[in-house]
Amino acid sequence: MAVLPAEQDLRRVIGDGEGVPDGEVEGLSEADLLEQHRQLVLLRTYDERSVVYHRQGRIGTYAIFWGHEAMQVGSAYALEREDWIFPSYRESAIGLLRGLPAATILSWWRGHPAGWWNPQDWNVASICVPIGTHVPHAAGLAWGKKLRGENVCAIAYFGDGATSEGAFHEGANLAAVTRAPVILFCNNNPWAISTPLSAQTAAETLADKAAGYGMPGVRVDGADVLAVYEATREAVARARAGEGPTLIEAVTYRTAPHATADDPEAYIDLERVEEERQRECVGRYEAYLRRLGVLSDEAAEAVRAEAAELMREGIRAAEAEPPADLSLLFSHAYAEPPPSFASDLAELRRVLGG
């Protein structure tokens, strides 16, 4: 493979079609290349439609991941189906890559119980909302599987801001000490809502944190799906070989608001945003595939149509969910609910009924 030298060892595979030559990743067939394209389009379509659905009031507040698709597709593509994914809200739709129905994820954003899936069905953990707190979960799962002799890896996704949290630190350190087969995947987009990376850390790079845990740290262009794939594949190989965790810092830029509720105009440089949007990951990959002569207009169109249909079907199904029953308030809190739950529910029904 040929990775371009880049500032601060930022690994790249995809060139710019001009001065910077394209590289390639060993062992990826044309089918692999097209499948990753399909997945990119799927996530992109999910994200763009979700913003529309939010405007239409069909889903609630939504954390936009426009421009983050390559990080999610490239890394997830390096995993086996048995490997576990621990997403943050920013990767809410990553389950789509394993066949989790769009309706489920849309239901999550609709605040409907149908949005809470069984992690074991997809080896995709619940969406983690409190920043960085799922890093120890991923470490614990990977460690626990290793102790059982199961050859399973885990990957935890989190942002640049998350690296400031004690939970990230304790989880990363524990993963390294137990040599847990886990990949710590940092989406450095370099904003935490309105807080720029410069206010988040004084480190030159987030990958510099890896040495402090005794694990390798890798920096990769987060808008380069193939570079992300390759870096993750190497980390997975290390993990399976018993060499423990790897910290991957995928560098990108958050060109969308933090979430639908956020208005970045107050703090972000809109010109910079425009520039960055030009470098967005899906277009870059399509151009690469076209330069390779792998992607035809028809194929690209078909993939988009398929994704659009999946979203139409998804929102339809999500909206077709029957209203959640009150009894769900008391379900699932405990394996055997305390007696008080039954009387609370009975009282609630009586009061609301009457």
Binding site: G60, W116, G132, S194, L329, D344, L352
Partner: protein
Amino acid sequence: MAELTLVEAINDGFHVELERDADVMVLGEDVGRAGGVFRATAGLRDRFGPDRCVDTPLAEAGILGSAVGLCMAGWRPVCEMQYDAFSYPCLDQLITHVGRYRWRTGGAMAFPLVVRMPYGGGVRAPELHDDSPEAYYVHTPGVKVAIPSTPADAKGLLAAAIRDPDPVVVLEPKLHYRTMRGEVPEGEHVVPLGQARTVREGDDLTFVAYGSMVPLAEQAADALAGEASVEILDIRTLKPLDEDALLAAAAKTGRVVIVQEAPRTAGYAAELAAILAEKAMLDLRAPVVRVTGYDVTYPYWQIEDAYMPSVERVVDAAHKLLAF
């Protein structure tokens, strides 16, 4: 008097207090450049500079821990926790240091810091943007806790908290940040800690509430109009509690409903009920009833209204007491 929303009143209070006292500084996640995700700190960074309204790293324990050091350096830090459920990482610093450090110094050093956060549900938000954690704070020695229910009190209690020589936790009902407007005194406005507020007088029943449950208690009282006259007490400061006001309001009617949004078990309403069980025995004409959130995780927002104490549930409790 200006007519402001609850969050505008808080922002107004910040501007007044930072102007008044150069030792007051604000720190937290997104409080500076963005002025806070709810705009509670809007304009502070531009007006008072990035050193007095600081966008910190994403680290709640670090924020509160550094605030302890900032106090030792002579500052009066006001820490924002972005949401209720994201304040939990700071509990360790709060319990092991914030509430104890003054004692450690034999009273020689003061820790006049404030921890404030939006709290509570009903806002159709994703998981963990809906908690009512006041009980954790109230149970912690060495800290005071206040929860406003009106724009004027939101400004006045924040000012009192900032001026208080001891650590104060202020929880703000985010449900009413923008939906509630009210008259707010301009300029300096302080609502002393430790004083409850009689929302309305009544003779048959007493509703005791705080924060977002106060307007609910008022609606329930309205619903009972004609049937029963309801006294409503807004606790305002959970610690130190205005115990005299509580006992008086209970004695007046002998029938008390306590409304709390948080899960029932070991919530703050239990403390209020326990005080009545110990000190109002002879005044009570009926059981003390708690109407609270349930002992479960705050639910999916499509059914959150069923989790929250409702007018119906408060009225139902009232009927029970009237029939007792």
